[in-house]
Amino acid sequence: MTAETRILAKPVQGGLDAWPALALERAVGANEPAWALEQRREAAEVAARLPFPDRRLELWRRTDFGTLALGELDPFVPGPQARNLDDLPAIVIARLAGEAANLGLLVQRNSDVVLEQTHPALAQQGVIVCSMERALREHAEKLQGRLGALIETDLDRYTALHQAMRAGGAFVWVPDGVQAGVPIRLIQWLDGAGVAGAPATVIVLGRGASATVLEECLSETADGPAFFSGGTEVFVGEDAKLVYGHLQDWGRNVIHYSNQRARIERGGELQWIQTFLGGRTTKTNSYFQLVGAGAKAYVHGFMFGDQRQHFDLHTLQKHLAEQTTSDLFIKCALKDRARSVYQGMIQVARGAQRTDAYQANRNLLLSDTARADSIPGLEILANDVRCTHGATVGTVDEEQMYYLMTRGLPRGDAQRLVVEGFFAPVLDRIPLESVREQLRGMIQAKIG
């Protein structure tokens, strides 16, 4: 098979109700351990009793998936195995920018992981980068108590369905004290319209370990909806340091709903980068639990919407131990009729004294018809803490425009520079230069 193969999605007979049983059947065939199968069964039961979320729920008040008829999509579209990089879709090859040999790399296409590439340096260090399917066969003991442990099954019906339907995903394991020698990239690809993907990814860093992991969502815009349901659970061990990026660059037909959770132990540090550029509607819940003293989470994100794109990000900075730090900064620029929702919450538990928490959301409206909603929140039960939050919504500063134009920049160039500058502090944090430059290019193209 080659990258040019036409992959056709077709609705499952019996619709949505038939999905979980078929998924379970496949999982049994793949020899998933009993506990994982049981997890699927329980999630299916939860999904069956929950209605789809609607605007009566706080987290769904400003976002819905419109006319999406999930049951008409196909959650079992296979991904043709790639013998090598040449078999991957052209957009994926371009994204890797010739650097694949220096990575731990995993590529998922539709429901299947089609490429697993362990770098010799990583293998030598005992770092594991493999498909969730393989991990459940070969490293089940490392996954038990982690897979599905952080994401709440009953959060909503989509989340329960995701746990019942889970297909593909990655497992990354960095042993105690190991500094992963090369970056690890996990790429998600969907082929065209009608596809529903549901990978589950678990990333574990042992005590004192460090790694850089990027999860990237890529596809070509197709004529008709596709649905991506993501679930990523991240465990940062004591004194470990993880740089993690989640970069959403779907084609414009994709509806994206994902839950991302990170748990950071004593002295651990998480640098988290979250970007939304593609897709039709994106809704993501990213929660950070600081469970050990001195744990730190630095979260930086940007969204840039145009046309009728809709982005919804909900973050939770949960301080459960003393002297923990979280620093969150989300930037959003919107053109045309694009829309964004940012809902942020800082929670500080009773015992989490001397916590330092910061949350900022800046929104830049580039048209009269764009709209940004920003809903910050604080729940503080400790009394010796420093928490600050702030949100702004504004347009391009006319004095900045004037200043730049007096240097000969035409209005369009001046605006481009201001918008690029707006994103730069987040962009600068993207760990790989080739990825950073590609995102910069995408932003520039989008500014137009």
Partner: protein, 266 residues
């Protein structure tokens, strides 16, 4: 006579939010000349500077501004800049996220001859001055202004001290090579060392190819930048013009003597 001057301001009337600020100001600046425009606060000095540069908030209600023989009233700020006008701001604006280097390269490239958009409407990513050539040029000009090289990678005016901002203004002026430069209160907020460095920068750029209009409240900067002509502005007009000696007279006698002698001076 007016045809030969590079910048000709003719009986300029300007209003800001309905309030008349400039009330018939006339001035001519030629390349090679250094003019000082002095006046107390509220006389309209910054209004003149920003009107010359085309700030959208300033409404020209009468008169004209000719640059190289043609009216520029219809031109936006960027076109005026590319035509050869430059304004060193009293309060330079911070552009967070945009490095000095990136900004200057974009500004230089904007001056290069016609740019052609690609079919999707975007501008080609790489155009204009070669990165290597640009870096050399930038280094050379920064050295002139005694600026550390790390400066190039800082975000433009973001967190800059007063002196750093003004030096950056002169750096831009040096890189963009205007024909007429207007310096709006460049001396404000500068200590003596910064003032000297900035003035030396301006002096190094001065010459037959550059006309300079130094707008200032105080005489102090004129110890460093020697004007050929000094104009005194009061209530939206130039009320007195003369040679360098006029600045010294203002320094010793204050603006009141101009106010008193206003009628006879005109």
């Amino acid at each position: 006579m007016s045809q030969t001057a590079d910048l000709v301001v003719q009986d300029l009337h300007v209003a800001v939010e309905g309030k008349q600020i400039l009330k018939g100001l006339s001035l001519e600046v030629r390349k090679g000349e250094v003019h000082a425009l002095m006046g107390p606060n509220g006389s309209g000095k910054s209004t003149l500077a920003n009107t010359l540069m085309g700030h959208p908030r300033y409404e020209v209600t009468g008169g004209d501004i000719l640059f190289k023989g043609e009216s520029i009233l219809g031109l936006e700020s960027d076109a005026r800049s590319r035509a050869g006008l430059f304004l060193a701001f009293q309060y330079p604006v911070a552009i967070p996220g945009v490095t000095v280097s990136n900004f200057l390269r974009t500004a230089l490239n904007a001056r290069l001859a016609p740019r052609v958009a690609t079919t999707d409407g975007s501008m080609p990513a790489r155009r204009g001055i070669a990165p290597k050539e640009f870096r050399a040029l930038l280094r050379e000009h920064m050295a002139l202004l005694k600026m550390d090289e790390s400066f190039a990678l800082r975000y433009l005016n973001d967190g800059f001290s007063g002196g750093e901002k003004k030096r950056t203004e002169i750096l831009q002026m040096a890189m963009l090579k205007p024909e007429i430069a207007i310096m709006d209160e460049t001396d404000s907020g500068l200590d003596i060392d910064a003032l000297r460095i900035v003035s030396e920068g301006v002096n190094a750029l001065s010459g037959p190819d550059l006309g300079v209009l130094v707008i200032t409240h105080y005489q102090r900067i004129l110890d460093y930048i020697k004007p050929h002509f000094v104009h005194v502005m009061l209530d939206g007009r130039i009320t007195l013009s003369g040679g360098p000696e006029l600045a010294l007279e203002l320094e010793s006698r204050g603006y009141d003597f101009v106010r008193e002698g206003k009628e006879s001076a005109r």
